[in-house]
């Protein structure tokens, strides 16, 4: 049933009894033309684009738990493109654009809000780095703009310049948007399911089978399934899954924590980055302040929060927004990211023919549609689009990395 105000109204009169599952809960068939491991935004998206753009509809998405239960469920919903190096700047700028028509395309409201982002700069050195980022990314159409103190004050009237790190200026990023994170998984699942894609929950892949030609199938908790094309879009355990095909992925698994306040009426529209404190926050549509910082300083698979990260984040926010003193910290959580040495994704073929990976997005929520599209294209055509040439696994054999770590908030 198409989602619209009209069907919603009609169902309202019928006590919503005709709504059907948003996606079919399938039992796996014996074989598929393509299988995607990982039922998050990236994996479901890849299946959707395989079906829609490449006509490959005999596809299964295998999810070991519930749909969108990985990093799709644990992020801060921010979609931004403030990257420094040409390959990343180009890809992420295109990635932001790829979100824009998604609600209509999927007939599922992912609640994309054009909030914009304001980065608060607290030293001349940061300002100088910002100039570099703004000037470089302008070439790829990004609209980041250095703003002076007066404009910053207009955008964030509540901000107070901290004594220890006085504000020197800011950057405005008009293209930054936020989206309802869970909705992207559900929207893709529903749209893919309509094309006939099988979505299999509670189905863990326990082995990958290969023969002389490459991938030939997977062993799962629901039995063996044959395929010649296998895509992997998992977060947090990418290393373990790839190892089933004897591929050693150069990734490290690191927690990323975030927290929310209890909800209040709208106080701030922009996503705010406090550069000097390596902290950012925004206000969700529900009214919570959603706050975050960098990844934890050591690797871990434990999706556990620690006390010191929320303390540091909130202390930093109070330096610039002291009026939030009586706001309330309500809930913290931790996701786990697979990150590469250069904090840049891998969307690539692998040494095993027919096995493709879309991993290590380093907080890859923001790239979901474009990465999924590129992954699907890679699976369908067995060659990378020029857009993702630089994201190949080969770079870890020749040292041609994209070392973004110096760039803006890249985590």
């Amino acid at each position: 049933m198409k989602y619209s105000a009209l069907t919603l109204a009609l169902q309202g009169l019928r006590n919503h009894r005709d709504w059907r599952p948003a996606w079919r809960n399938a039992t796996p068939k014996k074989s598929y033309d393509a299988i995607i491991i990982g039922g998050g935004g990236h994996g479901l998206g890849a299946a959707f684009y395989l079906a829609k753009k490449h006509g490959i509809r005999n596809v299964a998405v295998l999810e070991k738990g519930w749909l969108g239960g990985g990093n799709t469920a644990r992020n801060t919903m921010t979609i931004r493109d403030n990257f420094l190096y040409p390959d990343n700047a180009r890809f992420h700028h295109a990635a932001v654009k790829a979100w824009h028509s998604l609600s209509t395309e999927l007939n599922f409201n992912i609640m994309l809000s054009k909030r914009g982002m304001t980065t608060v700069l607290m030293s001349e050195r940061d300002l100088s780095d910002a100039q570099r980022m703004v000037n470089t990314t302008a070439l790829f159409g990004a609209k980041h703009r250095i703003i002076d103190l007066a404009e910053l004050q207009r955008r964030l009237p509540m901000a107070v310049s901290p004594e220890r790190l006085p504000i020197v200026g800011g950057i405005h990023h008009p293209d930054v948007v936020i989206a309802r994170h869970d909705a992207i998984a559900w929207g893709y699942a529903r749209a893919a399911s309509k094309f006939g894609v099988d979505i299999v929950e509670n189905c863990e892949v326990v082995d990958i089978h290969c023969d002389a030609q490459g991938v030939c199938g997977v062993e799962t908790t629901q039995g063996r399934i044959a395929t010649r094309k296998l895509g992997m879009a998992v977060a947090g355990h990418g290393k373990q899954v790839a190892a089933m095909a004897e591929i050693v992925l150069p990734i490290e698994t690191v927690p990323l924590q975030a927290l929310v306040s209890s909800p209040v009426k709208p106080v701030i529209d922009d996503v705010v980055v406090l550069r000097g404190f390596n902290t950012y926050f925004m206000q969700s549509d529900k009214g919570e302040l959603v706050m975050g910082a960098g990844t934890d300083p050591y690797p871990s698979y434990a999706q556990r929060g620690s006390p010191q990260i929320p303390e540091a984040i909130i202390a930093a926010i109070l330096q610039v927004f002291p009026m939030f003193e009586r706001m309330k910290f309500m809930r913290q959580w931790a996701g786990v990211l697979d990150i590469t040495y250069d904090n840049t994704p891998i969307i690539s073929k692998t040494p095993v023919a027919g096995f493709y990976v879309d991993v290590a997005g380093s907080g890859g929520f923001k790239t979901t549609p474009l990465a999924a599209m590129m992954h699907a294209d890679l699976i369908a055509n067995d060659r990378p689009d020029p857009m993702i040439d630089a994201y190949s696994l080969d770079r870890f054999a020749n040292g041609r990395l994209i070392l973004e770590r110096a760039s803006y908030g890249n985590r």
Partner: protein, 988 residues
């Protein structure tokens, strides 16, 4: 003023001698010390305290604890604060509060019109609409944002003081109810260090709201006895109004203490490391889902009796009890004894405990078994309920009442247990989740473990306290458990919902986010079957109470709908904070410099006093970018300083540089392995420039290392990377080269470093009375000597960061300021000019002294930045060598550093500007390089820049295009050294 109709003459623990006046929604009321805002509102007959989140339905007080979902208020006045839970807020004189989420008033809320349309806005409705016009959610989103949210963020800081305190103890006990008090007593008597925390204003927990008997006396007396004994123990700390909010790794817990003993502190965050933890966090009563179960006047049964017994407030005059367990019978009796007329107990079960039934009958209470509520009358204030039998054809009966006390059973408060990493398991005896196996050094006792009988709570508490202390090495004799009022078992039958009389009715599960039974069914119908998906699709459990009262009912209902067991459905993840913590308490004490220290050199204050424009320059120092004269612009000041260094003399504070003493027989071997160049031939009394790489080939640091004695070197590092370099070097020694006999000692703070630079530098140090011969022949470039400058012991070296004749004067930190002043005084005759770091950046750009963080930004290797001359070809392995060789063998274009001379000599290429190939439209091929820094050089009287360009060195002499501000500017590629290419000036 006469006593309110709802206040019971003499019952309760409020202090009737202390009357307090407060304001709620603009009306003034009074209450007593010992009241919460909630009890005081009930005492004044205020039935509507808030409006619900989505449908704006009127809501009354529901509970008496932190699980409250309805009485969420905004504090006003001096204490402006959003989302305060009224049931946990002690009343104070002058308190001002208002309801949240209601416009214009809580009695007449325009938002309530949404209640009429509720059928059109079920769970997840927004996913299905607001997509027209194409993807303009923004339009709707901003409107929806305004009606979402609860309270209002204050516009100004409250100015409260907060503090953090670290605390260690042998046994931490969370909860001072019967189990927790018993545990504290048993642990305390052993002599162990005990910390007992409780979120109420006084200890006792559930006992405060009951009339139970312990050891033949009222429970309150038992509490007082234990409390007095605990307070007399020197190593027992007891906190009230202290909520344990987080349980982290290795028994690290956070506790927020409101109004601690120090009156100037508003809240204190305790950060506790406990050897053993006893959780005695109690249980939370849960509601039952029936039609309109959210009407003002519907309250949890234990809360209703708690208000009577503890606060002396009747939440209503005529009550009906609706229950599925034995626990509510005692509550009904307590209500009657408090003066509330209890007409009927409606029990979903076919039978109850015979003794309890008899006792209820004796109080004149009618009991209707196998029955349930079918209808609630009175939308703004309860007037009556309708009851029907579960089976059979008996007609519905209407019973007048203004209080409906409901109990759907009890949920152990397992939040902290779950946060500790433990997995909850479903216990069919109590129809709820209890702690499974413990994973840290922790025990759960009492109601939070599913033990609801008082005698067991106390007995288990005593055992747990003694066992925990024993685990820390403290033993003592067993304490006999006291005799307690006998209690029947719960004997519960789960009641996740009762049938709705008509399909359009609403039965709430999560009152905070307005999630109904129909929403759960809809979610399941639409395929959102996992408990996590149900939570996310319906937002159940995501409100201010974080699902404390509603979650288990949702799990139970979900199990019923999906035909499985609650234990199979499982819980969602419990995460900190158990109850919300103010940002102020999270941040702790702040003096403006708390979270980021400001490290100072001995000369920092001089710059503060003399116009230095300070800026963050790494390693927590703030250094002057330039030192502006009155009325001078930044660029004027930088130009003046730069000209002074090239033509006269400048002086610069280099103290933030990192310094590491490297000593031992293998020191030279070590230097050879960590630097790219060779150190074997450096004589004592000389120094040398070195480059350090990461093992991946990236530039790590550059700096000068001095040979002080045969086996003793002093390494200087960049200020920002000093700590990184020390860690890097110590790790190599420990992990990779344990055979090397070398000791590293960080000595950065030991020495003040003052640089005198410029053609007249020699004259200045002479005028300052340097006591060695500084002639060029006897004190050569890269010499270092111990001597006196202005009578101060110093080590002076001929090193430069500007390309000019320079003397680096190093003195002990305590003499730094004196030495600076002496050099300034000596230089006065030569017009000595203090210079800042922006100026030295300009000077180093003129000289193409490479900055690891700019020109070498992750892609460039040491050859790319033109520093190949620092790489020794004739020594063994060094850190970064293999990666640098790999770059050579892999081949391909390299990002090489070159100079740029813009054709327009006034055009300063902005940092980061792409250098583009104008012959292609392919975005990927277009950018061939980037400006790393650009300046207008006052010395060359033209603009200059450094840039990273693909194979740039082979293109020297070519003209390229710089893309800036959507324009294209041309520039000529040149050798990067713009000034004094042969370095004659620094060697002078």
């Amino acid at each position: 003023m006469t006593e309110s109709l709802f206040r019971i003459a003499s019952a309760g623990r409020v202090d009737r001698t202390k009357k307090l006046t407060f304001t709620f929604n603009g009306r003034t009321y009074s209450g007593y010390a010992g009241d919460t805002l909630a009890s005081a509102l009930l005492a004044n007959g205020v039935s509507i305290v808030g409006r619900s989140f989505k449908y704006h339905r009127p809501r009354g007080i529901m509970s008496a604890g932190p699980e409250e979902t309805n009485a969420i208020v905004q504090l006003l006045g001096d204490f402006d604060e959003p989302n305060v839970v009224a049931t946990m807020l002690p009343l104070f004189e002058g308190l001002e509060a208002r309801s949240v989420n209601a416009r214009p008033t809580v009695e007449f809320d325009l938002g309530a019109i949404k209640n009429l349309f509720h059928r059109f806005i079920p769970a997840g409705f927004y996913y299905k609409t607001f997509m027209w016009p194409a993807d303009r959610w923004d339009w709707y989103g901003s409107a929806i944002r305004r009606v979402a949210g609860w309270g209002t963020a204050p516009a100004t800081p409250a100015g409260g003081r907060y503090e953090h305190r670290y605390h260690h103890c042998d046994v931490l006990i969370v909860g001072a109810g019967p189990a927790g008090l018993a545990a504290a007593l048993a642990a305390g008597r052993t002599g162990a260090r005990v910390l007992l925390v409780d979120n109420q204003v006084e200890p006792g927990g559930s006992l405060l709201g009951t009339n139970l008997v312990i050891d033949g006396t009222a429970a309150l007396q038992w509490i007082a006895g234990i409390t007095a004994e605990l307070d007399a123990m020197p190593d027992v700390v007891r906190l009230s109004e202290a909520s344990a909010t987080g349980y982290y790794d290795q028994n690290f817990l956070t506790v927020v203490e409101n109004r601690p003993d120090k009156h100037w502190v508003r809240e204190r965050l305790w950060k506790i490391r406990a050897k053993q933890v006893v959780l005695a966090t109690g249980a939370i009563e849960r509601p039952i889902a029936f039609a309109d179960n959210d009407r003002p006047g519907v309250m949890l049964a234990a809360a209703a009796s708690n208000y009577c017994v503890r606060y002396g407030v009747m939440p209503g005059h005529t009550a009906v009890i609706f229950t599925n367990n034995n626990g509510s019978y005692q509550h009904a009796i307590d209500l009657v004894r408090s003066g509330v007329a209890v007409a009927t107990i409606i029990d979903l079960r076919a039978q109850a405990d015979p003794e309890l039934s008899a006792a209820a009958h004796a109080e004149g209470i009618e009991i209707l078994h196998s029955s349930h509520i079918s209808k609630v009358y009175g939308s703004r204030k309860l007037r009556a309920v309708e009851v029907v039998a579960k089976t059979g054809v008996a007609a519905a009966r209407r019973i007048r009442c203004d209080l409906l006390a409901v109990s759907g059973g009890w949920n152990p408060t397992i939040h902290l247990f779950s946060q500790s990493g433990g997995k909850p398991i479903y216990d069919t005896d109590i129809a709820s989740f209890v702690p499974g196996a413990t994973v840290q050094n922790q025990l759960s006792v009492g109601a939070c473990k599913g033990s609801f009988q008082l005698s067991r709570c106390i007995g288990d508490g005593l055992v747990a306290g003694a066992r925990s202390a024993a685990a820390c090495g403290f033993d003592s004799d067993d304490i006999a458990a006291p005799a307690c009022t006998a209690e029947a078992s719960l004997d519960i039958i789960p009641a996740w919902e009762v049938p709705l009389p008509k399909p359009s009715g609403l039965a709430f599960l999560d009152f905070n986010n307005d999630v109904t039974t129909k929403d759960i069914r809809l979610a399941v119908r639409e395929g959102y079957r996992s408990v996590e998906l149900v939570k996310r699709y319906t937002t159940a459990g995501m409100g201010i109470d974080q699902g404390k009262s509603g979650n288990v009912n949702i799990i139970g209902l979900l199990a019923e709908i999906t035909d499985t067991k609650p234990g199979t459905v499982g819980t969602t993840t419990y995460r900190p904070a158990y109850s919300p913590i103010s940002f102020g308490a999270m941040a702790g004490a702040d003096n403006g410099h708390s979270i980021i220290p400001w490290r100072r050199t001995p000369i920092t204050d001089w710059f503060v006093d003399n116009g230095g424009r300070l800026d963050e320059t790494g390693a927590l120092f703030r250094r002057p970018l330039y030192i502006a004269h009155a009325g001078e612009s930044a660029s004027d000041a930088i130009n003046r300083e730069a000209l002074a260094v090239r033509n006269g003399v400048g002086i610069y504070d280099g103290t933030p540089l990192g310094k590491i003493s490297v000593k031992g027989p293998d020191a030279v071997t070590f230097l050879n392995r960590v630097y790219t160049n060779a150190w074997d031939k450096l004589p004592v009394g000389r120094c040398k420039f070195g480059y350090m790489l990461h093992d991946d080939g990236r530039l790590l640091d550059d700096g000068v290392t001095f040979r002080l004695t045969d086996d003793h070197y002093l390494m200087s590092t960049g200020s920002g990377v000093a700590a990184v370099v020390l860690k890097h070097l110590e790790k190599l020694l420990h992990c990779d080269w344990p055979d090397l006999d070398v000791y590293l000692t960080p000595v950065s703070d030991q020495w003040a470093v003052i640089c005198v630079c410029g053609p007249l530098a020699r004259d200045v140090v002479r005028a300052a009375g340097i006591d060695i011969n500084v002639d060029p022949e006897s004190f050569r470039f890269l010499d270092t000597r111990y001597c006196k400058v202005a009578g101060i012991d110093a080590r002076v070296s001929r090193v430069t960061y500007t390309g000019e004749l320079s003397f680096e004067v190093v003195v002990a930190t305590r003499h730094g300021r004196n030495c600076w002043q002496a050099l300034l005084a000596a230089g006065e005759a030569f017009d000595i000019t203090p210079v800042g770091s922006d100026t030295s950046m300009l000077l180093r750009t003129e000289k193409a002294f490479i900055a690891a963080g700019l020109e070498g930004d992750g892609h460039a290797n040491i050859y790319d930045v033109g520093m190949g001359w620092v790489v020794s070809k004739n020594k063994g392995d060094f850190i970064g060598k293999r990666s640098t060789e790999r770059d050579l063998s892999v081949g391909g274009p390299r990002p090489e550093v070159v100079g740029l001379l813009p054709d327009d000599t006034e055009f300063v290429p902005p940092k980061g500007s792409p250098i583009i190939n104008t012959n292609t439209d392919d975005d990927a091929q277009k950018m061939i390089g980037m400006v790393t820094i650009g300046f207008h050089s006052p010395n060359l009287q033209r603009s200059i820049a450094l840039a990273q360009i693909r194979d740039g060195r082979s293109r020297i002499g070519e003209t390229i295009s710089v893309f800036t501000k959507q324009q294209i500017k041309t520039a000529k590629i040149c050798e990067p050294v713009f000034f004094d290419p042969d370095g004659e000036r620094m060697r002078n």
